[in-house]
């Protein structure tokens, strides 16, 4: 068995034995699901379908909490040092934690989709292939962001502070908490600079508007490019030893991860139609009679 495969297996095993993991990856996301579906959507099937996107986005973006915390803990406790004297590489360590996280995210997402369909009677689940692609690029990219956070912080406390600083705008300005179109106009434009916005709108596009992969190409490509970049940065900044100082250039590298969405945000703000699509989806929710709604035609 390759190092990567045996590490992935072990990471999955360890997560399943961790009570915190159960809370944050199973109890918390499902709680969110019932909050959104039962209260925000008032169990209305079309509204549940609309809110399923943000619920899954929460689940997918949450990857970065667990991955950053575990990596910092492994470094602080000297667990990484032990791996450092073996032939295991930094890429093995990082990639295995991403894959384990991905494998562990899939069941919860599946349960959410299943509950939406069979408990809340969502008429159509939209485009499940798009959903699968988005969950994949989403968990890998946000997971890599967590690995970068772990490498530019020294202690668990610093990690949690930085996580909060990143997390709050991601959930409040992206449409994950309140629908993007419901936010003030200026905030909507700021939201276009955040990766979370593209994940949320694309998930909504896939689930509510049945958009295909090609219709969601901008978001998918952007998240994929971002995933590769953040993973590369995480591998560059990886530190085995707790006492090794963070090089000054590390902070620059970490900032580079914001670049793709800075550029895409600038472009989307002037030429793009992602915002218009998000607004259209939101307004269609208020006008149930709108017959060009894909989830309706599928009925």
């Amino acid at each position: 068995m390759s190092n990567f495969a045996s590490l992935t297996r072990t990471r999955i095993l360890l997560a399943l034995r961790n009570k915190m993991f159960f809370f944050f990856s199973v109890v918390f996301p499902l709680g969110m699901f019932f909050l959104y579906a039962g209260i925000f959507a008032r169990s209305n099937p079309r509204a549940v379908s609309y809110f399923l996107g943000p619920v899954i986005a929460f689940n997918v973006m949450g990857s970065f909490w667990g991955l950053s915390a575990t990596l910092v803990m492994f470094r602080e406790q000297g667990i990484l040092r032990r791996f450092h004297v073996t032939p295991v590489t930094a890429t093995d360590m990082l990639a295995s934690s991403l894959l384990a996280n991905y494998v562990l995210t899939l069941p919860t997402v599946s349960v959410e989709v299943f509950l939406a369909r069979f408990i809340f009677h969502v008429p159509s689940l939209g485009n499940l292939f798009s959903l699968a692609v988005l969950v994949t690029v989403g968990t890998v990219s946000f997971g890599s962001l967590g690995l970068v956070v772990a490498s530019v912080t020294n202690t668990m406390q610093e990690t949690q502070v930085l996580n909060q600083i990143i997390w709050l705008p991601l959930i409040f300005l992206s449409g994950a908490t309140f629908p993007l179109a419901y936010l003030p106009n200026s905030v909507q434009h700021v939201g276009l600079f955040l990766p979370a916005t593209y994940l949320v709108t694309a998930l909504q596009g896939a689930l509510y508007q049945s958009f295909s992969v090609s219709q969601l190409m901008v978001q998918i490509l952007a998240l994929a490019v971002w995933a590769i970049l953040t993973f590369f940065v995480a591998a560059q900044l990886f530190r085995w030893e707790p006492e090794v100082k963070i090089p000054r250039k590390a902070k620059l590298w970490a900032l580079a991860t914001a670049l793709p969405f800075f550029l895409l945000g600038a472009w989307e703000n002037t030429n793009g139609d992602i915002l218009k699509q998000a607004q259209a989806a939101f307004h269609s929710l208020e006008r149930p009679s709108n017959s060009d709604q894909p989830s309706k035609t599928a009925r």
């Binding site: 072990t10 095993l13 492994f74 667990i79 040092r81 004297v85 032939p87």
Partner: protein
């Protein structure tokens, strides 16, 4: 292989302005147990970590099994086994899982089953790492260091923080490895450990090797004299104590006078006489057989223990 397994020449390592290792040189031959003995902060761990490929040196050259740890670190890691200091494993990893996981990283290796038996961990095979005692954790660390059947084993302070009984248990394990003619480089700040386990010892202080040889050679170097340690009610000059019968040298270390004597009974008698004449009194007296501690005191004027 006629060449030494480990070659260290003029090794230098700096942390900022601090020179942790200042020109360390030694060789370790195949089948030898070699000890780096010295106080905490002497540069032992840094030296070992450079040999393991965990840190890059700032000067000098090192070779491990004919490999350069800096440039051939991947090939090197298949050849070495290590029990590190300040390391641990995930809490919820079971003993057997840890051995299997680490075994999976190497091309060749020993059966985890066999290692479990050898290190007396059979009953603990399904125990979580965080439920092991300190001694069990250390035995697991040693078992893991052997999982790839390494050509050279690094043991960094293998008994630090363990109680005396557990420490002896670990000694037995290391002695068994020694009988198997394993090449081992170990660091320690326990005299007893170095004398009992090592074929050769390098005494390290402030990043330098201050003495090197077999424990016997090193002790002979200090004249094979008995150490007499006395505490007095009033200060004495070192000169007066050196003039006592049979005393080779005398010095004050942390408020205690340390005398080395070839004829302890005569020395003690003349010491008591001398003190009485000067109105001084003996507060305590201790006699120790020659050990590596004497070598250290002689070279540095300080004690090795913390």
């Amino acid at each position: 292989m006629a060449n030494p397994v480990l070659q260290v020449e003029n090794l230098v390592k700096r942390y900022g302005d601090v020179e942790a290792v200042r020109g360390v040189s030694f060789n370790v031959e195949e089948g030898e147990v070699f000890g780096l003995l010295g106080p905490n902060g002497a540069g032992k761990t840094t030296t070992v970590e450079i040999l393991e490929g965990l840190r890059d040196p700032d000067g000098g050259s090192v070779s491990v099994c004919g490999l350069d740890p800096q440039r051939e670190s991947e090939a090197l890691k298949h050849e070495i086994g290590a029990a590190l200091q300040s390391t641990s494993l995930p809490d919820k990893l079971r003993v057997m899982e840890a051995l299997r996981l680490f075994a999976s990283f190497y091309k060749r290796g020993r059966k985890p089953e066999e290692l479990l038996k050898r290190f007396g961990l059979e009953e603990k095979r399904n125990t979580f790492y965080n439920q092991l005692s300190g001694g069990q954790k250390q035995r697991l660390a040693l078992a893991m260091a052997l999982v790839n059947d390494p050509k050279v084993i690094f043991l960094d302070e293998p008994t630090a923080g363990l109680d005396p009984q557990v420490r002896r248990e670990i000694y037995d394990v290391i002695e068994e490895l020694r009988r198997e003619k394993k090449t081992i480089l170990m660091t320690t700040h326990y005299i007893e450990e170095a004398e009992r386990l090592c074929d050769r010892v390098a005494i390290v202080d402030f990043g330098k090797v201050i003495a090197l040889g077999t424990p016997r050679e090193l002790k002979a170097h200090s004249g094979g004299a008995t150490r007499i340690e006395v505490r007095l009610s009033k200060p004495e000059s070192n000169g007066a104590l050196t003039n006592l019968e049979g005393v080779a040298d005398a010095r004050e270390v942390d408020g205690t006078y340390v005398l080395h004597s070839k004829r302890p009974p005569q020395t003690i008698v003349s010491l008591v006489k001398h003190l009485e004449a000067g109105g001084n009194e003996l507060v305590s007296l201790e006699i120790a057989t020659p050990s590596l501690e004497d070598v250290f005191i002689e070279m540095t004027g300080r004690r090795l223990r913390d």
